[in-house]
């Protein structure tokens, strides 16, 4: 549910009162997402099978499909950065879906969670670029013509700084908006009004997680490929 409305009683508020930690709700729901993913990981690790079934099948479809997608776009180097990309998608997806459970709030509906992830992406793709190209990474900021280089340097710096901002605001705006719409529709017409929206928002939340993943992939591709 949307935390922006007056006194939303979510599970995290009750839990916070019981624990007396005074942490904001999105921290609890991020921990919940982490617990879900760690549990899935440990359960699956214990009984990996050659012929997948059930949960393993779902994860193999998602992870395998995303790996194909990354390798198709970046090339074989994509396998090196894939361990960063895929957990990003699944983590955001789980956090988004938690917002659909009544009484829960999506951790991504708070701008702090998204800013942290977007800055991680920003640092990571620059680190990958510097690791691969060394000092020559600056050529990515210079553009093709040498006497336009100072202007292009400024433009590229603005463009690169805008990336984490746009990543943050896109995810935050979409997820927060969906949470607020759910609450408002629930006030207007309980259950009947919200139920059709769930289908739309499952689509919307998956697409937002995928967009975050895909943009990270495009940025990593930009820092991995040769400067023009």
């Amino acid at each position: 549910m949307a935390a922006g409305l007056a006194h939303p009683l979510t599970y995290s508020v009750i839990l916070d009162d019981a624990l007396g930690l005074h942490l904001p709700p999105h921290v609890y729901y991020m921990w919940l997402a982490m617990i879900i993913l760690f549990t899935c990981a440990f359960v699956l690790r214990g009984r990996l099978q050659l012929v997948p079934g059930g949960l393993q099948n779902v994860f193999e479809t998602v992870v395998g499909g995303l790996e194909d997608f990354v390798v198709l776009n970046i090339g074989e180097e994509g396998r090196k950065v894939f361990p960063f990309l895929c957990p990003m998608f699944i983590f955001i997806l789980v956090m988004n879906y938690i917002g659909l459970i009544p009484g829960c709030d999506a951790a991504t509906a708070n701008v702090n969670t998204n800013a942290a992830m977007a800055l991680t992406v920003f640092v990571y793709y620059n680190y990958i670029g510097i690791k691969k190209w060394g000092f020559g990474y600056i050529k990515h900021f210079m553009g093709p013509v040498i006497f336009l280089a100072p202007l292009m340097l400024v433009l590229e710096i603005v463009s690169h700084l805008a990336r984490p901002l746009s990543l943050t605001l896109r995810l935050f705006g979409n997820i927060r908006g969906e949470e607020i719409v759910l609450v408002l529709l629930f006030i207007l017409a309980p259950v009947v009004g919200t139920l059709p929206m769930y289908f739309l928002f499952i689509l919307g939340k998956t697409i937002q997680a995928f967009i975050f993943f895909m943009l990270t992939m495009i940025y990593l591709k930009g820092s991995l490929e040769h400067a023009h």
Binding site: V58, E60, T61, V62, G64, G65, L66, E67, D68, F69, V71, L72, R79, V154, L155, V158, S159, L161, A162, R163, L165, S166, L169, R170, T206, I207, F210, I211, M214, L215
Partner: protein
């Protein structure tokens, strides 16, 4: 799975993703330009000038990013249509092969 057709992200999702990314970069770049100009002005004491210059640079950057993104999408669409017309089966084989290698 609804979002993953034949072991890869469904076309609708890729399409939605590509289209939805275009607008935000324009706004973000403009605001980053504005913020850079504002704080540089505060630091150097050249009151309105750097703000104006960097705001314009931010707008230029935003439009350039949108243009680049559109070109990237167009190239992708052209490559796809060329692939289906020409060596469609070969392309499919290559995809399937790389997928199986990964597992």
């Amino acid at each position: 799975m609804f979002f993953f057709r034949r072991d890869k992200p469904s076309e609708a999702m890729v399409l939605f993703g590509n289209v939805a990314t275009i607008g935000m970069q324009l706004v973000a770049a403009t605001f980053i330009g504005l913020a850079m100009g504002y704080f540089l002005d505060k630091w150097l004491g050249t009151e309105p000038w750097l703000l104006i210059i960097f705001l314009l640079l931010g707008i230029v950057t935003g439009f350039r990013d949108v243009y680049r993104e559109a070109m990237r999408l167009q190239r992708g669409a052209e490559a796809e249509s060329a692939g289906t017309r020409g060596a469609g089966t070969k392309d499919d084989d290559a995809r399937g092969g790389s997928g199986r290698q990964g597992k």
